[in-house]
């Protein structure tokens, strides 16, 4: 009678890959604190009866970055130099390739960008565009550069121009040609052919939008109602 039986050599391979990737970013006093810690462990063992193979690998790291800001001391944060919003710029990356991995996408990845400039940088965008294998393919990199070439909306300038545009649109919708003309005249005063060409200008700054508003208010346009 044939019967299956366990292999005389029981083999047990345990691979434990443990990663505790704790990432914190908290505001404190004068700095943004960026803290990360990583723990990686691998254990391989074999039944000791027939000659065991044991392997253990441990890796533990921690890092803390105090990124200075312009926040005042005391209860009042203040607004000097942008206040707490104005921090140093940090971009960092940790990639740990797969440990005894059979797959290209194994491993651990950490990315961190702190600061208003750092998060806008193409370098940061490329960093975050990388795959688990730590690589970004050439086509994706080209595509990202192409997309970044599209004019970016300036949040504060857009808020100002939107206020003007809503008023302008209401006059156009109601057929108020006299007030529409005031908008076009003001735009011509700033070098545009008409108010529409001002609205589609991607390079309008907050200052230019405020200048336009001042011209329109001087012409009797009320933006408070």
């Amino acid at each position: 009678m044939n019967s299956s039986r366990p292999l005389p050599l029981d083999t047990l391979i345990l691979t434990a890959l443990s990663s505790a990737l704790a990432c914190g970013c908290a505001n404190q006093g004068y700095s943004v604190i960026a803290a990360t810690s990583t723990t990686i462990g691998v254990g391989i063992s074999q039944q000791p009866a027939n000659g065991s193979v044991d392997a253990t690998l441990g890796y533990k790291r921690a890092e803390v970055a105090f990124v200075p800001t312009n926040r005042n001391s005391g209860e009042s944060a203040g607004s000097s130099g942008g206040g707490a919003k104005d921090s140093g710029n940090v971009i960092m990356e940790l990639r740990y390739a797969g440990i005894f991995s059979t797959g290209a996408d194994s491993g651990i990845y950490q990315r961190l960008a702190v600061g208003d400039i750092a998060v806008k940088e193409t370098g940061a965008a490329l960093l975050f565009a990388k795959g688990p294998d730590g690589k970004i393919d050439a086509e994706s990199a080209k595509a990202l550069v192409a997309v970044k070439g599209i004019p970016s909306a300036d949040t504060t300038a857009t808020a100002e121009t939107a206020l003007l545009a809503r008023k302008y649109s209401s006059f156009k919708a109601s057929g108020d040609s006299a007030n529409v003309k005031k908008f076009n005249d003001a735009a011509k005063g700033l070098g545009y052919t008409d108010f529409g060409s001002f609205l589609i200008d991607a390079k309008v700054t907050v200052q230019k939008a405020k200048t336009m508003r001042a011209l329109l208010e001087g012409a009797g346009i009320d933006f408070n109602h």
Binding site: I150, T155, A162
Partner: protein, 50 residues
């Protein structure tokens, strides 16, 4: 048909809803309406046409 393309960085925008509304209102003043959008990485691309 005229086309204008704008981009919003989703990683940095404070209030996405307001930003989109402001952008649409601004370009609506020049008779452009939002025709299409897509996202690539952290970038929201908006295509306006009139």
């Amino acid at each position: 048909m005229d086309t204008i393309v704008r981009r919003i960085d989703l990683a940095t925008v404070q209030n996405l809803e307001t930003e989109i509304q402001n952008l649409c209102a601004t370009l609506a003043g020049a008779d452009y309406t939002l025709a299409s959008t897509f996202v690539f990485q952290t970038q929201l691309v908006l295509i306006f046409q009139k």
